[in-house]
Symmetry: C2
Subunit: 386 residues, 2 copies
């Protein structure tokens, strides 16, 4: 019995390990990307499930279409502009969370050894999804707005990747935002080289400062957009989607048919039931207010307890704060000490596709109250003194 070769390259399932460790009630976890459980619109979702059972009954429990529940797809299409028209239902496929969108894209596009361009650093779940299809990674240099177009162009002169994966809004892990002009420059380079862009946008609605910026998929061609309800509604429902050209969606559908036939039918209907009551905008306002307070609490606690020990990027949205440790070479070295202190973070190395040594760490502030955040940062400071 022999596993596939790529399995050797997979790490130890760090996301899963963190999810498990985070279940220790004593632990303060800044490691996950967990939205705040106490803010979930649980009653409204309960009502939505009830209503689907009452009005649609057994049909919500039957097999359904691979591309997803049509009314949910229609609703999602109606939320997106594409070249001065609304998106069409044929341009949307429902996925089992955004993570499945990443995996389906990899399976649909990658032959073994194909190259994928990624940001430096990038979302570790994307690295995992693409590794599962034997991707080669090339990390494109980034500045404060993300991918540097001239660096992208230089890379494209030597390598033809299957796509460039990026998170323009409140990037994971760095929290950076790509401005409008940068987006346009990037699209120009992409068009010149016929480069497919994969735009992942789980955090775009969680904006605490500044104005909303149009998505790449709304500004140009050849963009695959990934959306999700995990951060604005509830991640346990596993409802995400991909918006892209119809031909790409048809191919993703073909892939998904072999992968899981379709996503949970009942849940898709319940999410649509929730959405059609137009409850989401107010809910997002509430999330913004609460997360903003937590963001500020973390920034303040870091100033107070870590001071010069950490150089941080203060995010204007999203779930994460990215910090660089002073006088430390490898942030991995402190993981064990921190677990003893009952505090978790994600070491920066995990976000680099080449696994380089990093003195950075990603801290999540969305799922802890200001008091807990303060206590957690105190523990971090204590752990760092060891």
């Amino acid at each position: 019995m022999k596993y596939a070769n790529w399995m050797k390259n997979v790490g130890e399932g760090f996301i899963g390990e963190m999810l498990r460790a985070a279940q220790n009630p004593e632990m303060i976890s800044f490691a996950g990307g967990l939205p705040a459980l106490e803010l979930f619109p649980t009653h409204e979702l309960q009502d939505a499930f009830q209503k689907v059972f009452e009005e649609q009954g057994s049909s919500a429990l039957q097999y359904s279409q691979t591309a997803g529940y049509p009314k949910l797809r229609e609703w999602l299409a109606s939320q997106h502009q594409r070249n001065e028209r609304l998106a069409r239902i044929q341009e949307v496929i429902i996925t089992t969370g955004s993570q499945q969108g990443l995996s389906l894209l990899a399976q649909t596009f990658l032959d073994p050894g194909d190259t994928v361009f990624v940001e430096t650093p990038t979302y570790l779940g994307a690295i995992q999804a693409f590794e599962g299809f034997r991707a080669n990674f090339q990390m494109i240099p980034c500045d404060v707005e993300g991918i540097i177009p001239s660096e992208l162009e230089r890379a494209l002169q030597h390598t033809t990747p299957k796509f460039l994966y990026l998170i323009p809004n409140y990037q994971n892990p760095t929290g950076k935002v790509m401005g409008l002009e940068r987006r346009k420059e990037l699209l120009k380079v992409a068009q010149k080289y016929d480069l497919l862009l994969v735009e992942d946008n789980p955090y775009g609605e969680l904006r605490y400062e500044g104005e909303s910026i149009p998505h790449l998929v709304e500004l140009g061609e050849h963009v695959v957009y990934l959306g999700t309800f995990s951060k604005v509604l509830a991640p346990g429902l596993r409802v995400g989607y991909v918006l892209a050209d119809e031909d790409i969606i048809m191919h993703l559908e073909q892939t998904k048919e072999g992968v899981d036939l379709h996503s949970n039918n009942l849940t898709q209907r319940a999410v649509y039931q929730y959405l059609k009551q137009d409850l989401l905008p107010d809910h997002i306002q509430k999330l913004r207010q609460v997360y903003d307070v937590r963001r500020k609490a973390m920034v303040e606690a870091i100033h107070t307890y870590l001071g010069e020990q950490i150089e941080m990027v203060v995010p204007s949205g999203g779930l994460f704060l990215w910090g660089k440790l002073s006088g430390v070479q490898d942030s991995f070295d402190y993981v064990e000490d921190m677990i003893k202190q009952n505090v978790l973070y994600v070491p920066g190395a995990l976000f680099y596709a080449d696994g380089r040594v990093s003195n950075e760490m990603r801290l999540n502030y969305s799922c802890s109250t200001p008091e807990v955040i303060e206590e957690g940062i105190k523990r971090l400071a204590k752990g760092l003194r060891k």
Copy 2:
């Protein structure tokens, strides 16, 4: 922009196409593998979801463990014997339907070009799942009990496959059952050649005649067992599982982390809530009674309206009847005529991994009443006369 090479080998998404065509209300579909919607325990499931919302609230909507909801995994382990002990929770992973189990196994075990042994014919969804990971297929000759051990041994002398995929109970598409002695012979060959067996058992509980036979996973080593609630509860919930050695489960978990992080948390808890009330055994009894009536109605209608035109295998369980058309070379030739007659079946060729011409067809009897079955078989007879 270029898709992965394997995409060319994928058919036109026949399962998805059938699911779509089956939504025409005039259509009588014998094509799907749909369980009967009117038999779903919808009220009990509604209560289960309500209870989870009331008792567990938001925690049922949060991210959760990749391997699945621990109480559901425990319950499933308790249902299976392994070498005279009960299975352990570490030997179970929850999947988004059994289809995901197939896809995860392929991703975890297959390098491009690796060979998979399959029955002749086999489940077309398994062909799709394995094609997505560039499998080579070798079809092992079968008799009335499925895989012929001597033929398997002969094949193993020339080729080392990653695994043999088979459906011992009420095989899809043929309805065949592998007897106890045959299972033991098969395990002996597998052990001799260190061959991994993938035992898919979606229909085992739907038994209308004969006695229950122990699963391969209960009889020997190196067996990966796939189970699902799609046929005994409701497929739209997408809850399946894999039972295997702990090391295999850990690898599947690693793969699943990149693929969709975890399956729907709320739904797993609701299914467990349903199961722990011990409602399933009575529900399965009801399914058996109703499906048995439908099975007999189809057999009788075929005798009445098709007579010598079709040679059928009368199944003793499951959802399907397998028929061979007399005086016909390719059952694909009639698909268009049948759609005009508003009746659907699946042409036999789709179940052969080599895509050979076939004069066979698979007919599903579980999701139509006896009256509809009679009408559908009349339409089939009419279509065949064209």
